[in-house]
């Protein structure tokens, strides 16, 4: 990537001309559209944003600290509670990190099943984003359509591991469960019908004049700024940077499947919308290929019952639906991690909020918060 430090232009209006009074508004922590308990303090001039300040921590549960008092296996379910709408991705990241630390590798079948479930999870996370984002912009109906499809995915999860939301689907070293009978058909059926449903959402939103006016040119983040803020995931790609950990440092079975990385041009809210919509299509493509190539064989590698990884540390990141989800695990050779540090995509992406909304209107703050796609469980941990 380009290394020259880009110059950030001076932020739009930072001095008010004492129009009327500056209005300080607390948006949240109890607000319909801050997606949880985010509190944004808005400094307004009329309806124009002079500045924002995010106050986080209302959902802080000390997940990283808890890790220090649990064994590696015991901690696995906790990561599901961070980004609770993408629990499978969280689990994948954690399991692969510990596998790296233990120097074991999951068997091929496990890697393919993991890929399928993670991609389904990406779709379900994006569906939730789409529905809530649309509701933030006043389109109420897409939410229900999105939930209808998300339900199908959750049914697959439920059939596979018995849980719908906080799935704890994967284990360190592979999978606990073999796929159930009919897994293949159910996923294929979902893939087939889902392509039509995406077209349905696009007829509702993509060509809609109001949707275009609300999203085009709103919350622009240039490629250089995006890199400076180290935002990842769809936000980064919508700004025109073609960076995806699934391609850059392939994990699971991503090196064996063929897919495209959708990229935006302007880095505005509309581009992020388009990128995510395209990502859902690509996820379907990945899931189909994985089903075609699904090898036979064991699903669990040989892992010691009591895990005592060698002293050392490892950082491993995956491309979660919201961006780069990294785990930095330090082992002191005991059964419990010495320190686990999570790099949550939501928290890092949220940093860009202030840059994106300066000079816009209150309504745009809502649109931008929606487009960042944060989950407070992950921001606060």
């Amino acid at each position: 990537m380009a290394t020259t430090p880009p110059v950030i232009p001076p932020l739009a209006p930072n001095a008010t001309f004492l129009d009327t009074n500056e209005l300080i508004i607390n948006m949240g922590p109890q607000h319909p559209s801050t997606h949880g308990v985010l509190r944004v303090i808005l400094k307004l001039d009329g309806e124009r944003i002079l500045g924002t300040e995010c106050v986080i921590g209302y959902l802080h549960r000390g997940v990283e600290k808890i890790a220090e008092n649990r064994t590696y296996t015991q901690f696995a379910p906790y990561v599901d509670r961070m980004d609770y709408v993408a629990a499978v991705s969280n689990g994948l990241g954690y399991c692969e990190t510990i596998e790296k630390l233990l120097n074991v590798e999951a068997p091929p079948r496990a890697r393919f099943v993991r890929t399928i479930l993670t991609e389904l999870n990406r779709i379900s996370s994006h569906l939730l984003w789409l529905g809530t984002h649309a509701i933030d912009l006043g389109a109420i109906t897409p939410l229900f359509y999105c939930f209808r499809e998300r339900e199908e995915i959750l049914k697959i999860f439920e059939n596979y591991c018995g849980a719908r939301l906080t799935t704890h689907a994967f284990r360190i070293g592979g999978l606990q469960y073999e796929t159930y009978d009919g897994f293949d058909q159910q996923v294929r059926a979902f893939c087939n019908q889902f392509m039509e449903k995406i077209a349905e959402y696009e007829t509702l939103l993509t060509g809609n004049r109001i949707w275009l006016e609300r999203t085009k040119g709103v919350g622009i983040l240039t490629a250089a700024e995006a890199i400076d803020f180290s935002v990842t995931g769809p936000l980064l790609r919508a700004s025109g940077v073609k960076f995806d950990l699934r391609k850059a440092q392939p994990y699971a079975a991503y090196s064996e499947v063929d897919f495209d990385i959708p990229v935006g041009e302007n880095g505005d809210t509309f581009d992020r919308y388009v990128v995510r919509m395209e990502e859902m299509r690509q996820s379907i493509r990945i899931a189909r290929q994985c089903l075609d190539k699904l090898p036979e064989g064991p699903v669990m590698a040989k892992v010691p019952k009591i895990m005592k990884p060698p002293v050392g540390e490892v950082y491993h990141a995956i491309e979660a639906p919201k961006g780069e989800l990294g785990y930095h695990v330090v082992s002191d050779g005991s059964t419990q991690p010495y320190r686990i540090r999570v790099r949550p995509p939501s928290l890092i992406n949220l940093q860009a909020l202030d840059r994106m909304v300066r000079g816009l209107l209150v309504a745009d703050v809502v649109a931008v918060i929606g487009t960042i796609d944060i989950v407070l469980g992950e921001v606060d941990r």
Binding site: F17, D19, T20, N21
Partner: protein, 171 residues
Amino acid sequence: MQSVLPSLFFYALATMILVSAVVTITRRNAVHSVIWLISTLLGIAGLFLHQHAEFLAAVQVIVYIGGITVLFLFVIMLVNLDEAAKKKQFAGQWKIVVICAGALLAELGFFIFKGAEGFYFAEPAGGSLQPNTQLIALALYRDYLLPFELASLLLLVAMIGAVVLAKKDLK
């Protein structure tokens, strides 16, 4: 019966107008002032109805209550008046006030002393006020076309002036 009801209507409205007007100019809080102004204006609209000026009554309500008072409320809300409400509300000029009020009281005294007959205005002319809307339209667009155009020009100028005044980067 037929003549008592309309005059009762008049005196009730007159009381409402005067009381509301007095309250309007004595309130500390400007929003309360505007609300009492609305009450005054409603009373006046009622008087217009009473005098067969239906069109004018409707215009009074639409323009004054729906337009001007809303504009007042808007500005009051934009401009922080909490400070103003804490300060002293009245300032000098009492001498002129006393003179004016004295003149008014003198007029009232004369009025009571001489009765309504003391004020002779004019004999009713043989015109008609109905149909009200059509007649006003004819007056405005035929007899007073030039003033009407001037008034619209005045409104345009006022609109541009207000926009320029309220614009942010006034230098």
